[in-house]
């Protein structure tokens, strides 16, 4: 699969407003996205994700490094690069609320230089796909949040670009609409061969939709793996132990030392092992005070846990 988006060693620093101190937001981020791929771009707040997104979208010039979209440099060949990417950066805020659905679509497409005739054909096709045909003349202001979100994606689709970047596409949506949006994105990638880059904090969306994930933390890429591979990598070593009694301070101290990645919830302990044999060490800790164990299960790890672990490990290192 040839790459359509190439982010090559981008660095960006800002000066803090008050202290004038230099703050490095992105410290050499590099990755590639292939044609037709659905990729999740993740990272905790302040990780450098927004700076990376802005640079990909040609809204920010990096201090070092480059971004190319379909071979066009996002700074030197800005307009050509932008001809291959569209984005929904602020969801429903990317729309004109005083215009109706049709007017919004016509305005944004026209602004990209799309001729009137072409807009008409595309609009009808997309309104059907997004099930917004009967809302064509409705003011955006009167639409539900979910419909506004769908319209924002629809507007981005109208540009008919190879790459679509979506920032938090399911934020604030109810379960049903969130699912609908997810299915739409899947359809777009599968049937129309579009490359979809999703930036989100909604981990089930990543697990369900993305083939690959790029995790950014502290301005660096800390993981760039297929989602299923990451899940496999972590699933073998995660266990959930339900205890009948609390551990003693001494036991907790040893636990902290030997298994820094763990989580408590009442008497429920979730712990990750580097290797399968570590389970015997854990048993040793319980054995020390004859702590009664109710159940012990290998956990079905989800992507949220993988993400937290990766970020936590990165911070610890």
């Amino acid at each position: 699969m040839g790459s359509i988006v190439t982010v090559d060693g981008i660095k960006k620093s800002y000066k803090k407003r008050k202290s004038k101190e230099e703050f490095v937001a992105v410290k050499g981020v590099s990755f590639e996205v292939g044609k037709g791929e659905i990729v999740g771009l993740l990272g905790p707040n302040g990780a450098g994700k927004t700076t990376t997104i802005k640079t990909i979208c040609g809204l920010l010039v990096p201090d070092e490094g480059s971004v190319t979209i379909n071979g066009f440099d996002s700074v030197k060949d800005r307009n050509k690069a932008l001809g291959h990417i569209s984005a929904v950066l602020e969801g429903n805020r990317n729309l004109y609320w005083r215009l109706n659905v049709l007017e919004n679509m016509e305005y944004f497409a026209g602004n990209r230089g799309v001729p009137k005739k072409e807009i008409k054909t595309q609009v009808n096709k997309l309104l059907n796909l997004f099930q917004l045909q009967d809302k064509k003349y409705e003011l955006v202001n009167n639409l539900s949040r979910g419909m506004q979100q769908k319209l924002a994606i629809c507007v981005a689709m109208l540009a008919d670009t190879d790459v679509i970047l979506l920032d938090e596409p399911t934020l604030g949506l109810d379960v049903e609409t969130g699912y609908e949006v997810r299915e739409l994105l899947r359809t777009i990638a599968r049937d129309q061969g579009k490359t979809v880059i999703i930036s989100t904090h909604d981990m089930p969306v990543v697990q369900d939709l993305c083939q690959r994930t790029i995790i950014i933390n502290d301005g660096k890429v800390i993981a760039n793996e297929r989602v299923d591979q990451l899940l496999r990598l972590f699933e073998t070593s995660a266990y959930q132990v339900n205890l009948k009694e609390e551990l003693t301070a001494e036991q907790r101290e040893i636990l902290e030392l030997k298994f820094p990645i763990h989580r408590w919830e009442g008497l429920k302990l979730e712990v990750s092992f580097e290797q399968e044999q570590d389970i015997y060490e854990l048993m040793e800790i319980f054995k020390k005070n004859q702590t009664p164990i109710e159940t012990i299960n290998r956990t079905e790890i989800n992507f949220e846990q993988v993400f937290r672990k990766l970020v936590k490990e990165e911070v610890a290192s």
């Binding site: 700076t51 010039v61 230089g113 799309v114 009137k116």
Partner: protein, 258 residues
């Protein structure tokens, strides 16, 4: 060219829709300007020379129409940028493969086209109210007006550049109204040094056409040199400053609210 035509088409429609959707705002704008005109007209009748009452009123009408028009043009992109940054749509405009300055230029053309209709309406209402009919010679007015517009658009781009960096420029836009009033109301015969100021020469020449019945042949080569020079210099400098501001904003990450 086809792309620019499409951009121009949708932006003209957008400006029209804004006027229609914000009907109350459009009506109150026209009413406010009409009330200002009435105040100006009575003001000049009270303090002006009674022997020159007719000419003075005509002077007020031309200045007032230009004041309205210059305000709309000069504030146009600055206000658009500030407003779109707040709404969250600015980044979308900057993500178009058509350069943003071309989008803003077409938005301004759209605004000029729509507001020109309002200006004509205001002009006739004010002439009817004052009972003073100006010489509306389109063959003389349109060429001068187009060149004057180039100068106004240049200044508008400077304000747009500022809006891109500072976003909140509403206080400045309010002060700008008085600066524009100074530029449109003071005749060159009183302050000849203002000939180098943006669009002043154009306003002065239009005044000569509308009040004194000048035709294009009545102006000297020096008049044209100032008019054309003014338009080219301010037009180019304006767009240049805007592009520099855009570059700075992209370097510093100041685009939009995002």
């Amino acid at each position: 060219m086809t792309s620019f035509w499409n951009v121009l088409r949708v932006n003209t429609k957008m400006e029209f829709l804004e006027l229609v959707r914000y009907k109350a705002n459009t009506i109150s704008l026209l009413l406010t300007f009409y009330i200002i005109f009435i105040a100006m007209m009575f003001g000049i009748q009270v303090i002006g020379d009674p022997a020159q009452a007719g000419t003075n009123t005509q002077f007020v009408i031309v200045n007032y129409i230009f004041w309205y028009f210059a305000m709309m043009v000069l504030q146009s992109i600055g206000w658009t940028i500030s407003d779109e940054a707040m709404k969250g749509t600015l980044e979308q405009l900057f993500m178009s493969p058509v350069s943003p300055w071309k989008i803003f230029l077409s938005r301004m053309f759209g605004m000029i086209f729509n507001h020109f209709v309002l200006v004509i309406f205001l002009l006739f209402v004010s002439m009817a109210t004052a009972g003073q009919w100006l010489n509306l010679n389109p063959f003389a007015i349109i060429p001068i007006l187009l060149l004057t517009l180039a100068s106004m658009i240049g200044v508008s781009f400077v304000i747009a550049g500022m809006a891109l960096i500072f976003k909140q420029i509403s206080a400045f836009l309010q002060i700008l109204q008085f600066i524009i009033a100074g530029l449109t109301f003071v005749p060159l015969s009183v302050a000849p040094f203002m000939v180098a100021a943006p669009f002043v020469k154009g306003v002065d020449m239009t005044r000569q056409v509308m009040i004194n019945g000048y035709t294009l042949a009545d102006f000297t080569m020096v008049d044209y040199a100032w008019l054309i020079g003014n338009s080219i210099v301010y037009g180019i400098i304006g767009v240049g400053i805007y592009l520099a501001c855009e570059k700075y904003a992209m370097k510093k990450g100041l685009l939009g609210h995002y």
